[in-house]
Subunit: 481 residues, 3 copies
């Protein structure tokens, strides 16, 4: 509900000790650990920033279009508190509605600032508004217009262009997420540009080819074939085209794939069976049963690992998200509008066929992400604690929070220490939140490590070393960067 | 096992700082937050006190009948430690056994006081015995008779009558839970009584009409029809009768319904299909298959939401409790004897049809409770963090404890801050424990908020404001009080 | 990955306050509680040390054979970090490979010491290397040979023989785990030996007879019959033989059975149905369907409880472990090589038939263990909080860690205090780690109890008493020792 304004603005001043424990001893250790990594370069091996944004280096549009409308974390919280998606700038797909001007969208955020209290979304926002945009007051109805104008003006300045921010943020590597038929032209432009010294690498994401029950499956299969110049009318053709596309991505700097599936089932099919389902699915959505579509998808996950063993691309996997839970919102506003929801996680049983085949294959890296915390101690930690191929992915999306990072570290460290973890991933479309998110993770890890130090489970010297590795050689090794 | 007595009694003196963190800085903040709400009126939007208790305002019977025999929290712990239910005053339904006098029942509690150590049941009991009954020694075999006599004498005094306690406890609103055919006479008497200034509102609970496989289903359906003056021989008739009864409750002050079901499935049926199953079920328990009974129940949950959208009653839902786990105890002593047990929680998938239809309906409030903690971060938080209709119910029953409240706040705040939570519900039959339970929740919330303050995630000023809202406008808004 | 050596060795000096909270107040209380139990005798009611080890009292072989090769906790972490099982001393079952000398195996551990950072495995190892073997440097590539030689020399000394260590460790009772056809000769020798004053008791574990789909089922059934002198060609015969074997174990000091099954299903079969499946299974693996094998196993779990009610043996149950997840490793190196993995836990529903029949049977003790933490608050705590027969087993295997012990205590204490818990079990094959493991649990419990004391939920006096009971009369009562 909208907050009643007070005459006096509340200061916005992120505290230098935030997220560190209250106990003075623990706090001092956390500070030491944090300081050892606070200014380390950012390695961002998994995210959703568009490479063209960096390549084109155009000024950002208005504050709402930058910070609110495209960010489903922000949208869902405002929506939950009664602000419709149109009022937040998402156009009704029917074309019948109208979206308000950016200034009004920003006011919606400011009036509901209280509804973000205590959330990581507000935490990132505060850091970002302060550090990137130089604001010193908490947003409120009273200062909404002034803050909007301040940011809008700032966005026109050269130091706020994407490339200038890339440098200012201290980004060393930024991985994007790209469609299987992508030409990667922006990546190529950046690589060829001697004035750009950063590293922007693509990630191969081909979820649509996994599932023949998807309405866009035939389109994507055809498009992958066209991009690869290989006929995907047969299953072997599709596999060959995918291998070719992966190679194309590798040539453009990719070190990893990313895959989101409903479940992690990985039972392989016989060549004849997968050929048969592929051919049937090409006849149209009615060509395969639901069970056949699932079997095809499970087989494809198996093939995905097989390809990774062959070409060396790191395999990222995040099953268990229920996409587009609210059909009326999907129909009206499209996907990524805040109603993808966590499902029950399961890895140990469904991944068994894949791990029996490839779990000990030299050089194979399989990074497991979840939105269901219960699997950290029960499944992901123990799997990463036996299989050389398995890495425990950082907490992500709904559980990308200081408290959840603490629970993740506690559960995973017990099973498998630090070397088999992924390091932080920001997974964000919100370019300007990248430093805030990495900073939060570094603080949360410092707080966790400090708790081990003050309980004498790890020496401070070892903790400093681990903190440094978590932001450098651990993600580099996991993602082969 | 019984505790060996010591010559010296152990003092009973609840500490003013209990539940606050040990760190002096965090403790000071928690104190400040707690003091801001310690004496706020009690809003109790969900509980099981009988309205007639307040309306009749008779003195309570003996201490055991007040504090032990009807409280299944106390019964189950004594039973787990070897005290039979008869020895605790529950009559054998066959009429063959005998229950001991209250004094002996009290002695059973006193001798097993050690078996409650560290539990919230003992925590509430200690606060209640000290604050309400003025005891200053921990119960023990040595002081059992003296404490029993002390309480028994006190219960005869006028200041210990239910209405005097209502005022002394500072209760502003107390919601009861009532059968769908209830005449709500006690509520009417209280509303009409100018000498009673409190507010006691009914809650519409009609679990039995949901499930045609229940032995009492036909009886309740008929009884609802009689109470409403509407023929429930057809499904449309039953729906009309239920709407009429809801309206009757609204006229008597109700703002909410409450529903406990085995699972949260909510797939609607076609009118003809639900009419058919209804008619078949009226032929007797053999008239419907198990699958039909489940389908009927899922449809009824959908109708329940539909009715709430129409009449504005808040819909409370708590699926996932396995009722009467131990059949021999049920047969001998009846229900509510300590063996209702938590089941696995699930909301995201089963509630999908209901939420697609009503999740964004204006004014619809759906409060989700669970006894399975794993769903806080995975399901309830994310649902409340997108759907305007969904509110995250406070931890309840088995997880109504200081530690679990902390885990709930941590999981839910990350997803959806504070405004989409329910505020505390005491859910109790134990009238005299109400202040102790609310006080515990206020302390636990103060401790949680203090942890955010000292880690600089929330300012102390904001935390005070949130603490105050949690006991006032948040429950008022959620429950439309 | 291997650690880069530093010139200076890192000291190995377990801190006297380790695992206690950083806050000075909480730490002081934890110290007091720990000191009250630090030197209490060790009661080890569940473990995997071979009784012959104590009976024979031979010097241990080399350090690697003692501390690395047989310990699947250590194996799995090294394997996860790229060290093959052969390099750790596990012989390839085909006989084609060669295992390196102990000195080289030790070097593998030392080079990967960093990959154990923060894990309980390293924690135990540090305590053990320091307290038992007198090492004062953290293992490293630089000191690997010297440390190996130091331990190897020490193992030849008389004070390092198993019996001398038994006394030095302060073990009062050690329970072993034994096959159903075991002759228990080593136990008998120890009992008859007036020079041995310790108590080593067998535990009856007959998992193989539960599951007729196991390849070794017929062999074990025959072997049990032979050991009992009773024909196991009929199901009644098998039950009689098992009863006889249990009696034999009782005569040799056993107080408990132990059972690991895939799930806790306990639905009984009719006598004719179990007789029929038994007879069919004796025809060979093809004789029974998968469903029949499961039904037989569930019935056997029911019978197991029935036998315990009759003969008084405590029933330990730990369902939910997925054994031998990686078939290629099983085929090459055999079982217990680090890829048994946790599965989803479930107790409330599957145990219902068993508990309805025996949950209130006088003297029946059923101790429930899990590797899935989610069941502590949802299932095990509530079951132990109603059924007199049910005890909440300590966190075990993957969750036998300081952090998980804290979560266990928090979840279980809320539901059922301390008297219905098992006390610590070390469950270890690693004889020399026993004191380190018990010491860790005592510290973790002291830290948990201190957290209740400083938040004024339990008095320090009560906490001291509980800490003492947790290592003495609670395990003695639970396990009837």
């Amino acid at each position: 509900m909208p907050r009643t304004d007070t005459a006096t603005a509340t200061p916005l001043a992120p505290h230098p000790d935030r997220l560190f424990a209250a106990d003075p001893g623990a706090r001092a250790v956390a500070r030491t650990l944090y300081e050892a990594v606070a200014h380390a370069p950012i390695i961002s091996p998994h995210g959703h920033v568009d490479a063209a944004l960096i390549a084109d280096d155009q000024p950002f549009a208005d504050p709402a279009a930058l910070l609110i409308t495209p960010d489903h974390y922000v949208l869902r919280l405002l929506h939950a508190n009664g602000v419709g998606l149109e009022a937040l700038g998402r156009a009704d797909l029917s074309g019948t509605g109208t979206v308000p001007p950016g200034r009004q969208i920003w006011r919606n955020l400011a009036e509901h600032w209280d509804d973000f209290l205590g959330t990581p979304v507000r935490y990132w926002f505060e850091t970002e508004l302060h550090d990137v945009f130089g604001l010193t007051e908490q947003p409120s109805a009273a200062n909404a217009d002034a803050q909007y104008d301040h940011i809008a003006a700032l966005l026109q300045q050269p130091q706020m262009r994407p490339r200038a921010l890339f440098d200012a943020f201290g980004i060393e590597v930024l991985a994007t997420t790209d469609a299987p038929d992508a030409d990667l032209a922006a990546h190529a432009r950046l690589a060829a540009d001697p004035t750009f010294r950063g590293r922007v690498v693509p990630t191969f994401r081909a979820d649509a080819v996994f599932d023949p029950s998807r309405p866009d499956w035939r389109l994507v299969v055809a498009s992958v074939g066209q991009a690869a110049g290989i006929d995907t009318g047969t299953h072997d053709g599709l596999l060959a085209a995918l291998r070719a596309r992966r190679q194309y991505f590798i040539e453009h700097g990719a070190t990893a794939t990313d895959t989101g599936v409903l479940d992690a089932g990985s039972t392989p099919l016989s060549p004849s069976e997968r050929a048969r389902i592929h051919a049937a699915a090409l006849q149209g959505p009615a060509g395969v049963t639901a069970a056949e579509a699932v079997a095809y998808r499970h087989d494809m996950l198996f093939r995905w690992a097989e390809m990774s063993v062959d070409d060396g691309l790191v395999m990222q996997l995040h099953p268990g998200v229920v996409r587009n839970h609210h059909a009326p919102t999907l129909e009206r506003f499209g996907p990524d509008t805040g109603h993808d929801l966590p499902g029950v996680g399961a890895f140990t049983e469904p991944l068994r066929p894949l791990l029996e085949a490839f779990g000990t294959a030299p050089g194979f890296h399989l990074v497991l992400f979840t939105v269901d915390e219960t699997v950290f101690s029960r499944e992901i930690g123990p799997l990463a604690g036996f299989y050389p191929a398995v890495y425990a992915g950082a907490p992500w999306w709904f559980i990308d929070t200081p408290a959840a990072i603490g629970r993740y570290r506690s559960a995973i460290t017990d099973s498998t220490s630090f070397t088999k973890t992924s390091g932080f991933i920001d997974d964000t479309r919100a370019y300007c939140s990248i430093p805030a998110r990495h900073d939060m993770a570094r603080r949360a890890d410092a707080a966790y490590l400090a708790s081990l130090v003050v309980t004498h489970q790890v020496s401070e010297e070892d903790a400093v070393r681990v903190a440094q590795r978590i932001v450098s050689d651990i993600p580099r090794a996991t993602f082969k960067l």
